[in-house]
């Protein structure tokens, strides 16, 4: 296969470039079908370039300002991530075919290409360049909704991601000044200042606890296609960066465990189903972060395999909710129900996504998540393992049951809309096919992971694993039916739940407004004092220097003579007494 596609002259060309260049070309093309063709063609070209290298290594070196930028590091870790990024870019292009928005086309391509570029980056400067490019290009997918809420959420998103980039650059510069190295590899450590800043930069993009709210704030406000595109790249790029730089960093195990658990509680009572998926995304990232923290070959395989299948099934779920939003105009759970009667194909695809993320046997989540859980158990992190099993039941709750149940079943609201557009169905169908294909032919996935030889020793379809997983899932579904029967399951309600973003959207915002008002008042008070003093001084000066002032009065010559004599006497006295 590799030999078939090998083109020597393109051996050093990163697959990121055709996607980015296609985005730049799309910017000057007014003809919508041509832009759409580019959106589909660019990922195919990227895929050909992905197959092109005959060996692993670092290619595409660019000399710039005394630095050597490594734009194409092709190894086992970048291979799997870049492949799924390319697949996601193609699915996104297909899903957005019906849209006529030049800015979305352009930025979608540049964002996808930047994600690919970051994955292939061999040094921190190249990573920084693509890191920031993902931030700047992706914000337009949020602003694309063209309303005040998305505008403000986009600003918050941009601010937080630019901060992430600044921390990355600061950390890289500090590290380079200490070690002379710009290498983006496993030599990064949180024990140094530079390494710690880079870690936080990755953590922001990875939506670590307390740094996570940009995700739930921005993604639900993005455009229909934008949310699908966003769900694939930013956070998984951060997971890749952690896997590349901080594999085996123990604190990641605990950070990841918290990430798997807390979003579950928010997702349970969230009314906006795209926001539920955003919390769900956060929860899934936790599994990957735990795997990276454990750091064994099996665990890293688990993180990579999980990222691969997650991008596909999460995109599928976002696509299904996007189709609902496109047809119904809302994804509020309180306003949906019974849509399977109008959108049967979308329902079917959503159910496949739900089964995959819930890790039902024969679906992709089952074969991927199992690697991480096995690795955690093997390393005797029992408490963390229990949290992950808890979170697995939580995943079933919010993504396996809540999303399809409240959108497509539950109480029929009498909504009779048209099925999703054909291109949306094709994109969902392709993603659904991959979910099933990878779940059954898991060997394909296991050959792609960073340590395929370690994965070959793992067999996901054992009696113990299937029975254990089915117990977990069926008991959780039984719990759902029990809670519904006894009216102990919360209704979908028109409400919002404040999260940690309250700190900066309300508290800090309020504090800043208060401080601004205080400064304003202080300024006014100081201004009053100054102007009062100026006024008094003006009056005084007028009294002294004006034509009618004291200095302009006629002074009797006798008085002047007396003053002059007195001054002369003082001078003489000083001269006499001086040594």
């Amino acid at each position: 296969m590799i030999e078939t596609f090998h083109i020597e002259s393109l051996a050093h060309v990163s697959p990121a470039w055709p996607v980015i260049i296609a985005g730049l070309i799309a910017a000057i093309i007014a003809h919508n079908p041509v832009r759409k063709a580019l959106a589909l063609l660019a990922p195919i070209l990227a895929l050909l370039l992905w197959f092109n290298p005959t060996t692993t290594g670092t290619f595409g070196l660019i000399e710039f300002g005394g630095f050597t930028l490594e734009t194409f590091r092709y190894d086992n870790l970048s291979r799997i991530w870049s492949l799924v990024f390319i697949i996601a870019a193609f699915i996104n292009g297909l899903y957005g075919l019906h849209e006529k928005d030049r800015l979305a086309d352009v930025m979608g391509l540049i964002y996808s290409g930047a994600g690919l570029g970051a994955v292939f980056a061999g040094d921190l400067l190249t990573l920084f360049f693509f890191w920031e490019l993902t931030a700047i290009s992706s914000v337009f997918l949020i602003w694309g909704s063209r309303n005040n809420a998305s505008y403000k959420a986009g600003l918050r998103y941009l601010g937080i991601h630019i901060l992430s980039g600044v921390l990355l650059l600061a950390g890289a510069v500090i590290r380079a000044s200490e070690t002379g190295s710009w290498a983006f590899d496993g030599s990064l450590s949180i024990d140094t200042i530079g390494g710690f800043l880079i870690f936080i930069a990755f953590g922001i993009k990875c939506a670590f606890p307390f740094l996570h709210n940009w995700l739930q704030d921005a993604y639900p406000k993005a455009t229909i296609t934008g949310a699908v595109v966003l769900s694939a790249f930013t956070t998984k790029l951060a997971v890749y960066a952690l896997a590349r730089g901080y594999a085996g960093t123990e604190i990641l195990i605990y950070i990841g465990a918290v990430m798997t658990a807390f979003p579950v509680f928010f997702a349970v009572v969230e009314n906006d189903l795209r926001k539920v998926l955003s919390y769900s995304l956060n929860n899934q990232l936790g599994f990957m972060v735990v795997g990276i923290g454990v750091g064994t070959e099996l665990a890293l395989n688990g993180a990579a395999a999980h990222a691969f299948v997650h991008i596909i099934y999460k995109a599928l779920l976002f696509m299904s909710m996007g189709a609902v939003l496109h047809r119904v105009g809302t994804v509020k759970g309180s306003e949906l129900g019974g849509l399977f009667k109008s959108m049967p194909a979308t329902t079917f695809f959503c159910l496949i996504g739900a089964a995959s993320i819930s890790a039902f046997p024969l679906f992709s989540g089952f074969v991927a998540k199992a690697l991480t859980l096995a690795a955690v158990a093997q390393e005797h992190h029992t408490l963390v393992w229990l949290v992950l099993v808890f979170a697995s039941a939580g995943v079933l709750e919010h993504s396996g049951i809540k999303i399809p149940y409240f959108a497509f079943f539950a109480h029929d609201k009498g909504l009779r809309v048209r099925e999703a557009p054909v291109n949306m169905l094709m994109a969902m169908g392709l993603a659904a096919l991959l979910c099933v294909y990878l779940g059954i032919n898991y060997g394909v996935l296991y050959e792609l992971v960073p340590y395929p030889e370690a994965a070959l020793y793992y067999e996901p379809y054992t009696f113990d694993h299937i029975v254990g997983q089915m117990q977990l899932l069926l008991a959780a579904m039984f719990a759902f039916t029990v809670l519904v029967r006894f009216k102990l399951y919360p209704d979908e309600k028109r409400s919002v739940n404040v999260d940690f973003d309250w700190i900066y959207r309300r508290f800090l915002d309020g504090a800043a407004r208060w401080a601004w008002q205080m400064i304003d008042r202080l300024n006014a008070a100081v201004g009053n004092v100054v102007s009062s003093a100026q006024s008094r001084m003006g009056v005084k000066a007028f009294e002294i220097f004006s034509p009618g002032g004291q200095l302009s009065r006629d002074i009797p010559s006798g008085v002047l003579a007396i003053w002059t004599s007195a001054l002369l006497a003082v001078v003489l006295l000083i001269a006499y007494l001086a040594p």
Partner: protein
């Protein structure tokens, strides 16, 4: 089913018509039994074929079923009481800054 729904029934997608039983009351009321019996069946499998796990606790009969049931209920209760009860706000909470979720 309300009159409005009946009026809309002619608009049901042809592909969905063979699956309208999914909305039947008998199915909704039977789900608790279906899942209950299936859960018991898979727990029973443990009795006849004990599982081997890296975590000894997981080798208890029906461990995943107990854990799954408990985790689901706990997640829902914490979400309902803890999150909605404490952190829940009116839908227009963020309106003041013009970006209601």
């Amino acid at each position: 089913m309300s009159d409005d729904h009946k009026k809309n029934d002619e608009l049901i997608h042809p592909v969905a018509r063979p699956f309208l039983w999914l909305d039947a009351k008998w199915l909704k009321s039977s789900m608790i039994w279906i899942f209950g019996i299936l859960t018991v069946a898979f727990v029973a499998a443990d009795i006849f074929h004990p599982r081997h796990e890296y975590v000894p606790l997981a080798e208890l009969t029906g461990f995943y079923a107990w854990w799954g049931f408990g985790a689901f209920v706990l997640a829902v209760m914490i979400g309902w009481i803890g999150v909605r009860g404490v952190l829940g706000r009116e839908e227009n909470y963020w309106d003041e800054e013009g970006d209601n979720d």
